[in-house]
């Protein structure tokens, strides 16, 4: 029972580079989410997806791109990384209709230098 896994766990990248964070879940959950966690802000929703090929913006989407060609994968891409995107990123999933308990991955700590 692998659950929800994120990769890499740690990443250092340079300003202006493109970087992709991966998220994979084995439960066939409909909904998937990306959050970022910053000191003093808690967790903020970046993007979410209700199903394959359906995505929508959350609270802080600027500078990020997502895709969901398969139900189990939900990659997050920073098109041109900035230092303000240094954060811990969490992927989560929920079964969907009528159930909103979220299961979280272990997180990816991203540092932009």
């Amino acid at each position: 029972d692998a659950g929800i896994t994120q990769s890499p766990r740690y990443k250092i990248t340079e300003t202006g580079r493109q970087v992709t964070l991966m998220c994979h879940q084995t439960w066939s959950h409909s909904y998937m989410f990306w959050y970022r966690q910053d000191l003093g802000h808690g967790l903020r929703l970046i993007y979410y997806s209700a199903a394959a090929d359906i995505t929508d913006k959350g609270e802080v989407p600027d500078g990020y791109v997502v895709s969901r060609s398969k139900t189990e994968n939900f990659p997050l891409t920073l098109e041109s990384a900035t230092r303000s995107q240094t954060s811990v990123y969490f992927c989560a999933s929920t079964l969907g209709q009528g159930v909103t308990e979220a299961f979280f991955g272990q997180g990816t700590r991203l540092t932009v230098v």
């Binding site: 967790l43 929703l45 209700a50 969490f90 209709q97 909103t100 991955g105």
Partner: protein, 115 residues
């Protein structure tokens, strides 16, 4: 729009003492409420949840929380804390009927346990 307030950024409790972490929410309909715990360097683990029914809910690790609609609160309690309870605690509110907007989290309460 839904929102969650955790008034205490840090709380220090002696080992063996009781604990109460406060959470207030704002939501237009019946909320789904959650408490998550995050140990250092780890992801979030669900402690307990309230969807409906009994307003006192039991969770894992000896935690409980009470939903009080009149006060818009969902405070987390534990009768006797252990050193291993030191962590970050997040209260969250979710939309009924599906995770369309995800969860809205409070900013967290950092729990410190004194020996």
């Amino acid at each position: 729009a839904q929102s969650v307030t955790q008034p205490d950024i840090h709380i220090t409790v002696s080992e063996g003492a009781s604990l109460e972490l406060r959470c207030n929410y704002s939501y237009g309909a019946t909320p789904y409420l959650f408490w998550y715990v995050q140990s250092p360097g780890q992801g979030l683990q669900l402690l307990l949840k309230y969807f409906s029914g009994d307003t006192l809910v039991q969770g894992i690790k000896g935690f409980e929380a009470e939903f009080k609609r009149s006060q818009s609160s969902f405070n987390l309690r534990k009768p006797s804390v252990h050193w291993s309870d030191a962590a970050e605690y997040f209260c969250a509110v979710g939309a009924k009927g599906g995770g369309a907007d995800g969860l809205t989290f409070g900013k967290g309460t950092h729990l410190i346990i004194q020996p």
